[in-house]
C-alpha cells in the first residue's frame, strides 16, 4: 500500500475574482513507504500549496488525498495532525514562543491525541525529552525551562523538527524549513533532518529552493510547474543529476526558463 496518494487534486484561490490563482491543477502524486522526496519549482508553482493541502490548512476543490490508507480529504487540519509532522519556513511558526521547551515538547508528545486533565510535563517526560534534546547536540537539554521565544531561529527550527518527529508521523512535511536560516545553520538543520529521517525510516517531503540540496538528499525529486508535477526522477537516475541537467530538463519540459531568483542565486 502506498504511504500517500494524491489523486486529481485541484485548488483555485479567489475563484471568479481578478486575483484568481490556479494553485494546483490536476495534481497526482504517490509515495511509497520510506520515500524522501525533494520538491523544487519556480515561484507560485504550487509546492507549498501542495503541502498545505496535505496538512488540511484549506479544503481542496476536487480530488482525493489518502494517507496510509485513510482518506483525509475532508478532515479538518487538527484531525490530520496525528498523521503528519510539520516544519514550516518561518521558525516562529512551529513553536509556542511564550511556553518553555519542555511544555512545547509535551504538546508535541500528545500530537493528535486527546488532551485531558493529567499534569502535562511529568518527570518521566522530562527524562525522555532530555535524551531526545541531547541528540540535537545544541545544549538545549540544559535549558528545558527556558521560554522558546529566547532561542535562535536555528534552535527553534531544530526543536520544531524534533517536535514533528517525537511521535512518529506517517509523513514528515518540511516546507523550506532551512530557507530563513543562515547558510551554516541551514546546513546543520538539514543534516539533522536527514539523520532523523534515516534513523526512523520516515516518509518525508521536503520543499526547497536549493537545487544542490535537492540533488544531494532524498531518493526522489519532483519538479512542479503551474500547479502540477512536470518531472519525477528517482533511484539511480536521481543520483546522476546535476544542477545544469536539471535546469536543462526544466526548460525542455515546461517550455520556459526557471523563474525563481532565489534558486538561481543559490
Amino acid at each position: 500500500m502506498n504511504k500517500l496518494d494524491i489523486t486529481g487534486v485541484h485548488k483555485t484561490f479567489n475563484p471568479g475574482t481578478i486575483n484568481e490563482k490556479k494553485a494546483l491543477n490536476d495534481l497526482n502524486l504517490h509515495l511509497q513507504d520510506g520515500d524522501f522526496v525533494q520538491i523544487i519549482g519556480g515561484n507560485g508553482a504550487g509546492k507549498s500549496t501542495m503541502l498545505n493541502c496535505l496538512a488540511g490548512m484549506f479544503p481542496v476543490d476536487a480530488g482525493t488525498i489518502v494517507i496510509d490508507g485513510e482518506d483525509v480529504t475532508r478532515l479538518p487540519e487538527y484531525k490530520r495532525a496525528n498523521l503528519l509532522g510539520r516544519v514550516f519556513q518561518d521558525p516562529m511558526m512551529g513553536t509556542a514562543a511564550n511556553m518553555n521547551i519542555e511544555e512545547n515538547l509535551s504538546l508535541a508528545l500528545h500530537r493528535g491525541q486527546k488532551r485531558g486533565l493529567r499534569w502535562a510535563v511529568t518527570n518521566e517526560d522530562r527524562d525522555f525529552f532530555s535524551t531526545q534534546l541531547k541528540m540535537l547536540d545544541l545544549g538545549l537539554e540544559n535549558r528545558m525551562t527556558s521560554k522558546v521565544g529566547l532561542l535562535s531561529g536555528g534552535q527553534r527550527q531544530a526543536l520544531t523538527l524534533l517536535m514533528a518527529t517525537l511521535r512518529r508521523p506517517k509523513i514528515l512535511l518540511l516546507d523550506e524549513h532551512t530557507a530563513a536560516l543562515d547558510p551554516k545553520t541551514a546546513a546543520k538543520v538539514l543534516e539533522l533532518s536527514e539523520k532523523i529521517i534515516a534513523e526512523n525510516h520516515l516518509t518525508a517531503m521536503m520543499v526547497t529552493h536549493n537545487m544542490r540540496d535537492a540533488i544531494r538528499h532524498g531518493n526522489r525529486l519532483i519538479m512542479m510547474h503551474n500547479g502540477h508535477i512536470i518531472l519525477d526522477i528517482s533511484g539511480e537516475e536521481k543520483k546522476k543529476l546535476t544542477v545544469e541537467s536539471l535546469l536543462e530538463q526544466f526548460t525542455k519540459v515546461s517550455g520556459s526558463e526557471l523563474a525563481n531568483d532565489r534558486m538561481l542565486l543559490s
Binding site: 496538512a55 487540519e77 487538527y78 484531525k79 495532525a81 496525528n82 503528519l84 510539520r86 514550516f88 516562529m92 511558526m93 512551529g94 513553536t95 509556542a96 514562543a97 511564550n98 511556553m99 511544555e103 509535551s106 504538546l107 508535541a108 500528545h110 500530537r111 493528535g112 491525541q113 488532551r115 485531558g116 486533565l117 493529567r118 499534569w119 502535562a120 510535563v121 517536535m163
Partner: protein, 296 residues
Amino acid sequence: MLEILIGAVALGLLWAVMALGVYITYRILDVADLTVEGTIALGGAVAARMISANMNPWLSVLCATIAGLLAGLCTGLLHTKLRIPALLSGILTMIALYSINLRVMGKSNVPLLRVETVFSPLQRMGLSTSISSLIVGTVTVIVVAVALYWFFGTELGNAIRATGNNQNMARAQGINTSNMVILGLVLSNGLVALSGALIAQYQSFSDVQMGTGSIVIGLASLIIGEVLFGTRTFKRTLVSVSLGAIIYRIIIALVLKAGMDANDLKLFTAITVAFCLSTPMIKGWLDARKKNAAAR
C-alpha cells in the same frame, strides 16, 4: 485612614477574582473580551435575585458562576462558529446581557439589606463588613489562583495556552483551537461572574450598571500587577495580578480621599490604563533619544 485601606484591600480581593478572569482572555488567549462588562453585572444580578428570595448565598454564588460560564460560551460560539471577530462577539453578548440582567433582577437595582449573604456568618461573630470580606476574599482568591495554576499545568490547560500563543502551531499539534478559545472564554467569564456575585453582596446592592468600565478596571489591575510584581513564572504572574487588583483599589481609595470627584474615576482609570499600555512605546522613544544623544 486604616479603615479606608482595609476596605480597599477587601474590595480589591473580590475584584482580583475578576482580574484573574481577564488575565485568561487578555494574556493567555490573547483576546480582549468585552463580555465581562455584562458578566460581572450578571453575576451580581443572579446572586441578588436569589439572595433576596432567601436562598443560600453560596448557592447563589454557584449559580451566578454557572450563568457566567454560559455567557462566555455564548461569546465563544459567536466568535468561533459564526466567525464574528472576538471584540464584536464580546460586545454583542455584553449588550444582550444588559437586557437579560434586567430580566433577572426585574428592575435596574436590587438592594441587599438585612438579608443573609456570604459575609453574614462572619459578621455575626462580631467582625466588621470589611474584615469579613477580607477573609472571604482571601480564601476565594487563593482557591481560584491554585485552581488556575493546576489547570494551566495540565495537558488541556497547555493546549489553551498554545492556542493563545500560536494557533498555527496548535492546529499542527492536533489541538482543536476553536474549542480551546471557547473553553478559555467560558472559564474567564465564570470567574468574572463569581467576582460580580461577591461584589454585589459586599456593596449590599446589585445594579444593572455595575459592569460599566469593568474591563478597564480588570486591565488596569492586570497591568499594575505585572509591572510592579513581575511575570517571571506563571505562579508569580497569578500572584501579581491578584495584588494588582488590590493596589488598584488602594490607589482609587487614596485619590478619592485626596478629594477627587467620584464622577471622574472612570476618566482617571482610562488614563492610567492608556499610560500603562503605552509604556513600551514611551520607553522605546526614550531609548532612541538616549542613543541619538550618545551618538552625537
